[in-house]
Subunit: 134 residues, 2 copies
C-alpha cells in the first residue's frame, strides 16, 4: 500500500514493543519531538478496539512523562492528525516559550529562528526514561 | 486565575457530566469542530491520575465516533495543545478533502475559502449521538 510508516521506522526508534514504537523525529527545530507510531496500518483511533486505544495512549502518556522528566518543557503538545499519512501516529512535542513557533502550534506561523537548546545526551536520557516506564 | 475555560463554557455545550464537557466550537470554517474540555484546571494529561486520563480520552473518542457517525469525515484530527490556554482541552476536528486547510493542519496554511458543507441539524444530531455514547 506504499505507506511510509509501514515501510520505514519513521525516525530513530527509542523504544518499541510488538504493538507500537516511540521514535525521535527528524525535526531540527524541535529536539525531543517524539512520535508514537502504531505498528499496524489503522487510520483512526476509533478504528481500534477500546483496549488498543488505551494501550496506545498509555505509551503516548509515557512519552509525555519522559519529555517532562528529561526536558521540563513549558508545555507538551499532543496530536494525531494523519491527513497526509493515514496510519495512526501521535506527535508528542516538547514546547518552550523560546521555541520557533511558541505559542503557535508547530504547524502555525514561525515566530523566531533558533530551537530551544536541548540537554546533552538527549536521546540516551529519553531511552532511559522510556525504558523505566515501558 | 482568569482562565477562559474556567470562566466560560468555551462553546455551545452538547454534552457534559461532572468531569468534562463536549462543546461545539465557534469556528465558521469548521462546522462540527468539537472540543472536549476538562472541568478542572489542569495543564498536562500527565498531571491527571491515570484513571482520569482514561476517562477523558473515552469522551474524546466518543466525540470522534459521533463526528464519524454524523459527518463521515475523510479524517479526524485530535490535538491537545494548550500553549495559550493551559487548561486541558482536546480539539476533535472533522476534516474533509475540500475543507479550507486540507491536507494541512487547521493551524497551517489555508488552501481554499469555503467550508465543507455541514448536514442539516448538525448540533442536534451530534447531541443525539453523544448522548447515546455518553
Amino acid at each position: 500500500m506504499n505507506c511510509p510508516l509501514c515501510d520505514t521506522p519513521g525516525g530513530t526508534v527509542l523504544w518499541q514493543d510488538d504493538f507500537c514504537r516511540v521514535v525521535l523525529a527528524d525535526e531540527p527545530d524541535y529536539p525531543g519531538f517524539l512520535r508514537v507510531i502504531l505498528n499496524a496500518h489503522v487510520k483512526e483511533m476509533t478504528g481500534l478496539p477500546a483496549a488498543d486505544r488505551q494501550a496506545l495512549m498509555r505509551v503516548v502518556f509515557a512519552a509525555e512523562a519522559a519529555l517532562r522528566e528529561v526536558m521540563a518543557p513549558d508545555k507538551v503538545n499532543l496530536a494525531s492528525l494523519g491527513n497526509v499519512v493515514p496510519h495512526l501516529h501521535w506527535h508528542v512535542i516538547p514546547r518552550f516559550a523560546d521555541d520557533p513557533h511558541f505559542p503557535n502550534p508547530v504547524w502555525g506561523a514561525k515566530q523566531r529562528d533558533t530551537p530551544h537548546a536541548a540537554p546533552p545526551d538527549l536521546s540516551a536520557r529519553l531511552v532511559a526514561s522510556l525504558t523505566r516506564k515501558g
